[in-house]
Structure formats: structure tokens, C-alpha cells
């Protein structure tokens, strides 16, 4: 499991970077990207996420939650595979920058269905050995969502999460 933390260090293939930047640009343009420290957005450093004060409660709570020594934001929130990861970043980057620059997003922030699927896949990618028995059987929409019981895994208790920091 430890190696999965390490291998998330971004290897910036130029192709992918372009895609990602384009995704972000689609929403706002270069100004935000630079000034909003948009570039650091593409690193695995959790502090990069916390560049947005809007992410502060998640950042603070992550530091106090059980996974802060073993998983960073991207381990849970971005797809594990290389290309999919940057695609998601581009798409999310669009929403993120749009939201941050123009406001108008709804608070408390809450995870969207597609990102929720990514999250679930990431839980499984680290824990499949432990939970293999749970995945027995098909039909009825796959495994029970891990967050149904382990909502605190990433960010501790929910109270206050996502509210203004």
C-alpha cells in the first residue's frame, strides 16, 4: 500500500499537462491559473489543494483523520491510472477554477456522483485484499459504498465539513 502513495508523484507528461491546462483554461483563462496558484494544483501535495481556502476544512480535517500518513488528496480523489487522472484533473479543474473565481457554487460543497465513483475505486485499490469477501456476488449495484460506514476515513467527523472554514 505504501507504494501507492509514492507512485502518485506527478510525472508530468507534456501531453497530459496540455490537456489539463486546456481543461482549466476552458473555464477561465490563464490569469486565474497563475495567480490562483493553479499550477500547484497539478501536484500531489495536499497543500496545493488547500491553496483554495474553500478546501481548507478538508485539508485541516484530512490532517486529523486516520489516513493522513498513508494517503493524500489525490490518492482518494483522482483516478489511479495515468491518463484518467489528468482527465479528471482537467474536468475538475474546470469546475474548481470556475467555482473559485466566479463563486456561485453551492455550499456546503458536496461530492458529485462521478467523483464518488472514483473515490470508491480508490478505496478498493488499496484495500481489495481486506474487503475481497464483501465483493462476492454480482447484481444489486456492486459493493456497498465504503463511505456508507467509513465516512470518517478521509476527513474525520462530518460536522462542519464543507461549511465555511
Amino acid at each position: 500500500m505504501a507504494e501507492s502513495v509514492g507512485d502518485k508523484a506527478p510525472s508530468r507528461g507534456p501531453m497530459v499537462l496540455v490537456m489539463a491546462v486546456l481543461g482549466a483554461l476552458a473555464g477561465l483563462g490563464g490569469f486565474t491559473l497563475n495567480y490562483g496558484e493553479g499550477l500547484s494544483y497539478f501536484s500531489a501535495d495536499p497543500a496545493a489543494c488547500a491553496n483554495c481556502h474553500i478546501m481548507q476544512p478538508q485539508y485541516d480535517s484530512w490532517q486529523k483523520a486516520s489516513h493522513h500518513t498513508v494517503a493524500t488528496c489525490v490518492d482518494c480523489h483522482l483516478p489511479a491510472t495515468f491518463v484518467a487522472k489528468y482527465l479528471a484533473k482537467a474536468e475538475n479543474g474546470y469546475y474548481h477554477s470556475k467555482g473559485f473565481t466566479f463563486g456561485g457554487f453551492r455550499e456546503p460543497i458536496s461530492i458529485k456522483a462521478a467523483n464518488s465513483d472514483i473515490l470508491q475505486a480508490n478505496c478498493l485499490s488499496c484495500h481489495h485484499a481486506m474487503v475481497a469477501d464483501m465483493l462476492v456476488g454480482e447484481g444489486h449495484d456492486g459493493a456497498v459504498r465504503c463511505v456508507h460506514c467509513h465516512a470518517t476515513a478521509g476527513h474525520g467527523e462530518r460536522a462542519g465539513l464543507g461549511g465555511p472554514d
Binding site: A121, H128, M130, A132, D133, L135, E138, H140, H150, E157
Partner: protein, 443 residues
């Protein structure tokens, strides 16, 4: 990617022996899934909490009707006044049914639906069609049908095959009573915010009936498998076993369903006539699924299995604890993944809820006893049938509500406010009945 995962998953156990629809013996399945089987077997152990599990000896659970004598009096005229005990673990379900002195009054074959691994028997009777077989069993005597069950080698309590598909171990429901009941619920109008798949089915073209095994979400299945048995029912020899859900799942909805049920035209349904008062009484049995449905947990997607079969870590993997029992014996797994407070605090919260409910239960029981006294006094004073009609109606309503919560096994926990509401109505109707009987006395 997801496909890969599923492969990994499947390879997690080695199927040492093939299992089939006819394997009701859990020991065979246990060869493949020894950890689940181990915990399943522990349901033979005796457990106890303030209100859960059972008092009494290892050999025999305590008599509820002795602990609360008002229960016995309210059942006068029905077999439950003879013998009605605390429940215990799944391992005992068949022997407890065979041995209850309620069997001194002849019982119907329907009883086996929830106490034995009965599916092969249903198929046999129905020439391969379990639903058809099931539909005959209400006219069998319990004794004969149970004999046949044992003869076929299926004399087991609820078994793996009752909840799992032998093909791939996925959850499924098998019981005709449930399949009919949930179908009626889906086809009806009642709000079911806790069952999204029913809402989805309703929004569709309804070209085929709602089918839990096809339509339900995984989360729903984790409660449906229990809803096969932990429900209110009709179980005697005038029609097949019936779950009264067509109008909804609340105490009021199910009462309305029974009120409209008729065996003979114009003859409203009742389970028995009360031996003292002559009122036509409805008996409520263990409506856990129904009460849970009214609570905040159901509404939040929390399933029976989440609390009663929590995951336990066993070496490098985790498995569902098949030692189905009170979650209060297992708070850290059953509650604390969701509720991050101490075990003592969690227990105190449940105790607070249960004590309030218990107080109301006793209060409503006392009110009913006062009503019965008043009706007896009225009869002694020569009140006529017609003069007592109103009081009898009120007794039926009061008892239905009182029994609904008394027979439910969580002492109010599954839906605290709703249980209190139902008990408040029970006490109010019983007191109204007392007043009515007093009027009949002085008229």
C-alpha cells in the same frame, strides 16, 4: 478495471464443494465459507441485554406473558395467552416453533415459512414452482407439513440458501410471503422514501411486477433478506400467509389493510374474539421491518445487516458477522463506524430511548387493563351488545397499537418517535374505551 476487481473478488474463496438450491444444510456451504459458517453457528449461544436476547434459562427463554401479565390478559382467547416467550438465536427457530405450547391449538403449515429452510419443500409441492407450492401450505396442518420437511432432509433453521444464491453468493430473497408483500407495497400508493428501487420501479412503465431480486439495490437487499420473516403477518388456515403491506407499512396502514380484508362478504377480518370482552381483535407479530421503515436509520440507508451483521475483521480480510444478535453486544462494530462516540455513550443513548419506550408501553398496558375492567363491569351491570359495540371497537384499535410496539423487538429503538406515537394512540383509545364502557354501565 471493475471487471478486474470482480475477478479478484471471486478468487477470494476457493469453492471446495459445489452448492445447489437443494442444499439446505449449512454445513455443506460452510466448507466453502468457513468463517461465515463459524459465526452462523454461534446463534446457538445464549445472549442477554436489558431488553434484548432472552431471560430465563439456557434451555428455555423467559415467558413474556408472565413478566407482563397484561399481555396474557390481552391475548385471552388466543394461543399467545398459553405460551409466549422471549426470542433467541436463529439456531433455535425450528425447535422453538415445534415445542411452543401454542401448538396445543392446531397451527397451519404457513408457520414453516419463517422457521425452516422450506424452499425445496415448496418446490416439491408446486411441481417445481415454489410459489404454487407455497400457496397450498396454509391448508396443511403444521404437524404434517413439518413432518414432510424433516422427511425431505430440510429440517434446518434459516440457512445459507435462504439468503444467498448458490451460483455466486449474491444476496437474494426466496420467501413467497415477502415477494408478494413487497410487490403489493410497490403497486400501492404508500410513500417509501427509504426504498429507492420501488420509487424507480413506480416511475417506470410497470410492464412487469416489482421484483426485489432484480430491482432492489444492494443496500435494500441487506434489509429485505430479514424482511422475509421479521414482519407482521396473517398465518392461519383461511388464506395463504399474507404480509399486510398494500396500503403501506405503518401501524395505521396495516390496520386499514386488515380492516378491509374479508373472508366472507360483510365479515370483517379478525384474528380472535377476546375471551372477556368479545371484541374482534387483530394480533400484531414482530413488525421489525415495518417499524424500522419509519425510522431515521432506514431513511438514511442503514440496513438491518449494518447493525445486526456488522463486518468483523478476521485475519487479513473482513466478513459479515453471521452471529445475528443484539447490536448492543457489539457496539464497536455495529455502531461506532458511523457514530464516533464512546461505547458507554452509545449504550446510554439506546437505554434512554428504550426506557422511555418501556415506560409508555407499561402505561398503555395499564390503560388497556382499566378498559377491560370497565367492560367487565358493564357486562356485569347488564350492558347490551349494542351498548358495548363502541368500547369493543376502541379495544380493537388500542390493542392493535399496543401489540404493534410490544411485539416489535427493539423496544422502540428502530423508530423512537413513531413507536411513542403509536403507544400514545394505544393509551388514548384504551381510555376512550374505558369511558365508553362506563357510559354503557350507567345508561
Amino acid at each position: 478495471n471493475i471487471a478486474e476487481r470482480k475477478d479478484e473478488a471471486r478468487s477470494a474463496y476457493v469453492e471446495l464443494v459445489p452448492v445447489t438450491e437443494d442444499d439446505t444444510d449449512p454445513a455443506i456451504w460452510g466448507r466453502n465459507w468457513p468463517r461465515q459458517y463459524d459465526s452462523y453457528q454461534r446463534t446457538a449461544l445464549s445472549t442477554r441485554t436489558r431488553f434484548g436476547g432472552h431471560g430465563g434459562s439456557e434451555a428455555l427463554p423467559a415467558e413474556k406473558i408472565e413478566r407482563d401479565p397484561w399481555l396474557k390478559r390481552m391475548f385471552l382467547g388466543y394461543a399467545f395467552s398459553i405460551d409466549y416467550r422471549d426470542r433467541r438465536g436463529h439456531a433455535y427457530m425450528l425447535v422453538d416453533q415445534e415445542q411452543t405450547e401454542r401448538q396445543t391449538k392446531p397451527q397451519s403449515g404457513s408457520c414453516l415459512h419463517c422457521h425452516g429452510s422450506v424452499m425445496p419443500l415448496y418446490r416439491e409441492l408446486g411441481g417445481g414452482d415454489a410459489m404454487k407450492g407455497f400457496e397450498q401450505t396454509f391448508s396443511w396442518s403444521y404437524k404434517d407439513l413439518n413432518q414432510k420437511l424433516h422427511d425431505m432432509g430440510n429440517g434446518h433453521p434459516v440457512s445459507c440458501v435462504d439468503c444467498h444464491s448458490p451460483e455466486n453468493m449474491s444476496l437474494r430473497v426466496t420467501r413467497p410471503g415477502f415477494i408478494n408483500g413487497i410487490r403489493a407495497l410497490a403497486s400501492g400508493q404508500a410513500a417509501v422514501p427509504h426504498l429507492p428501487s420501488i420509487q424507480q420501479w413506480r416511475a417506470g412503465d410497470r410492464s412487469r411486477p416489482y421484483d426485489p431480486n432484480q430491482d432492489a439495490t444492494r443496500t435494500e437487499m441487506r434489509s429485505y433478506v430479514c424482511g422475509q420473516c421479521h414482519v407482521e403477518y396473517y398465518c392461519a388456515n383461511k388464506m395463504p400467509l399474507t404480509f399486510p403491506w398494500a396500503k403501506g407499512l405503518t401501524a395505521d396502514d396495516t390496520e386499514a389493510f386488515w380492516n378491509e380484508t374479508q373472508f366472507e362478504p360483510g365479515q370483517r377480518f379478525y384474528d380472535y374474539k377476546h375471551a372477556e370482552s368479545g371484541a374482534e381483535i387483530l394480533k400484531a407479530q414482530h413488525p421489525e421491518f415495518e417499524l424500522w421503515s419509519q425510522g431515521i436509520h432506514a431513511r438514511s440507508g442503514v440496513a438491518c445487516a449494518d447493525c445486526h451483521m456488522p463486518y468483523i475483521r478476521d485475519g487479513a480480510s473482513k466478513v459479515s458477522d453471521h452471529w445475528v444478535r443484539s447490536p448492543l453486544l457489539n457496539i464497536n462494530r455495529a455502531c461506532q463506524t458511523c457514530h464516533r462516540v464512546s461505547e458507554t455513550e452509545m449504550l446510554a443513548r439506546v437505554e434512554g430511548i428504550q426506557e422511555r419506550n418501556h415506560g409508555l408501553l407499561q402505561r398503555a398496558g395499564a390503560a388497556l387493563m382499566d378498559q377491560l375492567d370497565a367492560m367487565a363491569a358493564a357486562t356485569a351491570a347488564g350492558a347490551t351488545e349494542a351498548e358495548l359495540a363502541d368500547a369493543r371497537e376502541l379495544q380493537r384499535k388500542a390493542q392493535w397499537r399496543l401489540d404493534f410496539i410490544a411485539a416489535e423487538n427493539s423496544m422502540g429503538f428502530h423508530a423512537p418517535q413513531e413507536a411513542a406515537r403509536v403507544l400514545a394512540e394505544a393509551a388514548d383509545y384504551a381510555r376512550q374505551g374505558q369511558v365508553s364502557a362506563m357510559r354503557a354501565t350507567t345508561r
